[in-house]
Symmetry: C2
Subunit: 324 residues, 2 copies
């Protein structure tokens, strides 16, 4: 079975680990979000790609869900001592090596997709990990922040600044994947979608993770035209995000924070099946009314076995869709 | 009193620490060797400048004489796990920060001299540290190494590869500061020499440290024409280097490994005074016959006080020269 998964960071990575346990022999291609990539200290940092790679490769810090295990932060301390920031982005000493190798390879002329493949040679994540694009896409968030005079000033900031530095503490007025409209899917992305038996949207952020991937021209169309079941898992449980702050950016695109609203946001043109948590069983009818087959199953990612059961439910729903 | 010192790495840095103790109020300008600079992992590494900066700024690893105190090597371990080398060059996690800041500033268009000044803003070494040049100079060493067939193959390797990886275990057939002939002294270098009251050559390597600095067109001439005492301290004590492997590269330039021979190598056109160790008192006459005033004093850099006494002797000899 060939499965394509559109993945963001922590949620996507944990879902993939469960999927691998549920169907160890499946051939999984992950299309990774690069909209939250950022240049820091002259280095190219790809937080979502790395979270997938470290999580599946056994190098992740399990408690925080991102960064490396057994990590130290001496380099970052020294940068701060030089007065060089930002200080709000947590890069550890071990993690830095990934960014140094990546930056060096990009500087030598390799596209990000080739660099990602080379990094995965070490981590052996058990999936094929492809960035959504080799082109530069950077998610910006429009916010209103107080200026020096205490007046509100509207400005666009990098997604990481919104998410990590501000911790989504102010409303996101707009979310724009800058550069997406001119980006091309990375080599292998459209081919993987075209050859897939099933396409899954993990409980990743529908705006800044899955939404950014879908914003690369050609990817949404290829998924809609693939002619295979497309099944998603709700990142919202009981009107709140399973993890993260998805509700903050949903508001920016005019979508209420509910399992049904996210399904409607993707729409029946894209999505064939949708899993909601058992606490949201009441919305199954609404989702199905939108033309999307829906099931209520436990969606809390408490441990790898629980996630494997979720992944199994998603594949079961895909087969139901296929049988129709 | 304005003192100019031509410095390499460990020997130069330790001498400078003693000099600062001997004459705390002197205005010291250090012209640092950049011939052993190397690009590693896409970063610009300046071992000699950093050793001076860390030693005088209180951040040096005292035992090894280079690198940072309280250092860890996690980043380097990870680079090795990615199969990215070289592994023979010891860059620690804290040390990496210096190279990242430097590389970022160079990439932004600042010359190395401005970058060095910015780095020193943090370390406050108590001297003005200027690289000999902002241009690229790279010391290469010609060696004969066995090729795949076991035949000797003559090749030029980077000085660091000769010094650190091979530990000078094969003869240096030639030492070439590649690029030096087209390099210009960095801003401030010739001015500092022109305004100096005394110019000192610490017991640094006469070929790959002081010699490289003198190879930048204009520096040797400015020192010879400065009209102030130029005094050096022998890096050779009892026919062996005080530290390091200076004898290995002296052979490449046809100079015997003795305190007198190094003085003659610099020559009376450049050098006015020369300190040799008491064990080499027998060569004082030979050095003076070469037109260089010479004294035998203890030259072992056992602790900062001993080095301060050495520096004091150098300044005393400078006053003797001036009085003539």
């Amino acid at each position: 079975m060939r499965i394509v998964v559109l993945a963001g960071g922590i949620g996507g990575a944990r879902f993939l680990r469960g999927l691998k346990r549920a169907v160890p022999d499946a051939e999984v291609t992950v299309i990774g979000n690069t909209g939250d990539d950022i240049h820091l200290f002259g280095l190219k940092v790809c937080p979502d790609l790395d979270t997938v790679m470290y999580t599946l490769g056994g190098g992740i810090n399990e408690e925080q869900g991102w960064g490396r295990t057994d990590e130290t932060f001496h380099l970052k301390e020294e940068l701060a001592a030089y007065g060089v920031g930002p200080e709000w982005f947590g890069l550890g000493d071990r993690d830095f090596a990934t960014h140094i190798v990546r930056t060096q390879m990009l500087g030598a002329g390799y596209p990000l997709s080739a660099v990602t493949e080379a990094l995965c040679d070490r981590w052996k994540p058990g999936v094929r990990l492809i960035p959504m694009t080799d082109d530069r896409v950077e998610t910006h968030v429009a916010v209103t922040l107080p200026d020096a005079a205490g007046e509100g000033e509207r400005k666009a900031i990098h997604f990481q600044e919104y998410w990590v530095r501000l911790r989504a503490s102010v409303p996101a007025e707009a979310v724009v994947p800058v550069g997406a409209e001119h980006a091309k899917p990375a080599p292998g992305v459209l081919e993987a979608i075209g050859e897939a038996d099933v396409i899954l949207f993990p409980p990743s952020n529908p705006v800044v993770s899955v939404g950014t991937i879908l914003a690369v021209p050609g990817i949404r169309e290829a998924i809609a035209d693939a002619g295979v079941p497309v099944v998603g898992l709700s990142p919202i449980v009981g009107d709140a995000p399973v993890r993260g702050m998805a509700d903050k950016v949903l508001a920016a695109v005019g979508v209420e924070s509910s399992a049904a609203a996210v399904a409607e946001h993707y729409g029946s043109g894209l999505l064939d099946g949708w899993l909601v948590d058992t606490v949201d069983a009441g919305c199954v009818e609404r989702v199905e009314a939108a033309g999307i087959r829906c099931r209520a199953v436990p969606l809390m990612m408490t441990d790898v076995d629980a996630v494997a059961r979720m992944a199994g439910e998603a594949l079961t729903l895909a087969e139901e869709v296929r049988a129709v």
